[in-house]
Symmetry: C2
Subunit: 246 residues, 2 copies
DNA sequence: CGAATATAATAGTAATACTATCATTTACTA
DNA sequence: TAGTAAATGATAGTATTACTATTATATTCG
């Protein structure tokens, strides 16, 4: 869930309302993903902040707590007090990412009453490349977006997750599930008769990451490039699909 | 490429033509993926055969050459003579899988002249769950299909691949690229004006794996289940999308 | 100021991902 | 059929990883 704090009138005047909101948004994350809340200390924040850069740089496989400790002038053992292991840290980052995406999607679509427009906006938010960091949170969203594009599958392919937590596995993905459910509802609002709203929603969410990945690493497998982006492709796809006159 | 050997008339009578073809099909795999061709010896075949089962059982992360050696009554060091490391072995298996899919797709669609029918058949072959093993090759295709569903992303997310092989990285995926290109052409044949045939093709190919994965591990994120399968979803999606009358 | 708490430093363990060496079996050839 | 090359097996060894445990040193807070 998202927690909003109240800010003074002065602050609201100084920054825009969106910025204020961003500043005060806190993305709530499943407690089982950490041992000690990284938001509760400056070391914790540094761990999260720097791990994002490091995973993007080295790839998840070559990322270790020891290397991270060295980089932030801290110690391996200290990092272990925040996260059980690096898989949990990755899941934490993924949860944060989905929470943030959900927040942006809900925020951007909330005031739109036309269902088509609403869905269009949602797709835009979900499939766009993140190009601006809100600069309030310690998390660099641009780099985090890159991380998720590169490693997203790791975050749910780690067999640990669903072996360790039989029955509870879904907990880790509550946010992502909620996001897909919301998108699915928007699809249904546009076309009540469409029979696969959930599959279409999950295809948009993960297909978008995939197209971004292809664009970067295997450009011959996609039409996306500097000019055409995944948003164009998916917007076109969804509106061709819904409300057919057959 | 696919190599066909010639068989005697007797054999052709004994088995059907498809079976014969299957028996004589050999999927050619990039030589850089192995040190010694595993098809060239019984040990090599055992390595490939048993590794598939083991990776599905343990998950790729917990799979090791030592464990595999124990299982096939061979030695870690012997396996290293066939494959540089387990990542390469996974890439080998993925290459085999895509080669086999391409073969099935080409075979199944070759004689169809109507472009819609052709595309429909291709989608069917690519998105269906593999339920029958051809029983000729030593590779169990049902289990391999399961492996690819579980671990496919590993096979191209391993940073090694595109760090080690800058510029050459695509080589490992030639077959997959060719498959997507063929599918893309079939899409264009149905609708010459459709602007994203490559993206649509890659979305089908990887989206199908993803839907199979969700069906199994996160059923609330998909409409696919025992009755509805990814083939239904994608067939519907593609034919709604192409040849709109707008 | 003292006590709790957080962090750092160090050491140690078991597993992994290899490499190297040498012994043995098998296959092939003169 | 002996003799040799090639394939495989057995064993050992190394560096790295993913931790756990222990103890020492800061830092914070009542």
């Amino acid at each position: 869930m998202i927690v909003l704090l109240l800010y003074s009138r002065e602050l609201k005047l100084k920054y825009g309302i969106m910025d204020i909101l961003m500043q005060s948004v806190r993305i709530e994350i499943n407690e089982k993903l950490y041992l000690k809340d990284p938001e509760s200390s400056s070391l914790g924040k540094k761990i999260v902040e720097e791990s994002i850069h490091m995973i993007v740089e080295l790839g998840f496989d070559h990322f270790t707590f020891k290397k991270l400790g060295a980089k932030i002038n801290s110690n391996e053992s200290s990092i272990y007090r925040y996260f059980e292991n690096k898989q949990k840290l990755l899941l934490y980052l993924a949860a944060w990412y989905w929470g943030w995406m959900e927040y942006r999607m809900v925020f951007a679509t909330h005031s739109i009453s036309d269902s088509k427009e609403k869905l269009e906006k949602a797709i835009e938010v979900l499939t766009q490349n993140v190009e601006e960091d809100n600069a309030f949170s310690h998390i660099n969203e641009i780099v985090l977006n890159q991380l998720i594009i590169n490693e997203y599958s790791n975050s749910y392919l780690v067999k640990e997750v669903y072996k360790e937590n039989k029955g509870k596995k879904d907990d880790y993905f509550t946010i992502c599930k909620r996001l897909v459910a919301r998108l699915s509802e928007m699809i249904t609002a546009v076309d009540k008769k469409y029979p696969y709203p959930l599959s279409l929603a999950s295809t948009i969410v993960e297909g978008s990451l995939h197209q971004h990945f292809l664009k970067e690493h295997f450009p011959t497998l996609t039409n996306c490039n500097d000019k055409i982006n995944p948003t164009d492709f998916f917007t076109d796809l969804i509106f061709r699909t819904l409300n057919q006159k057959n």
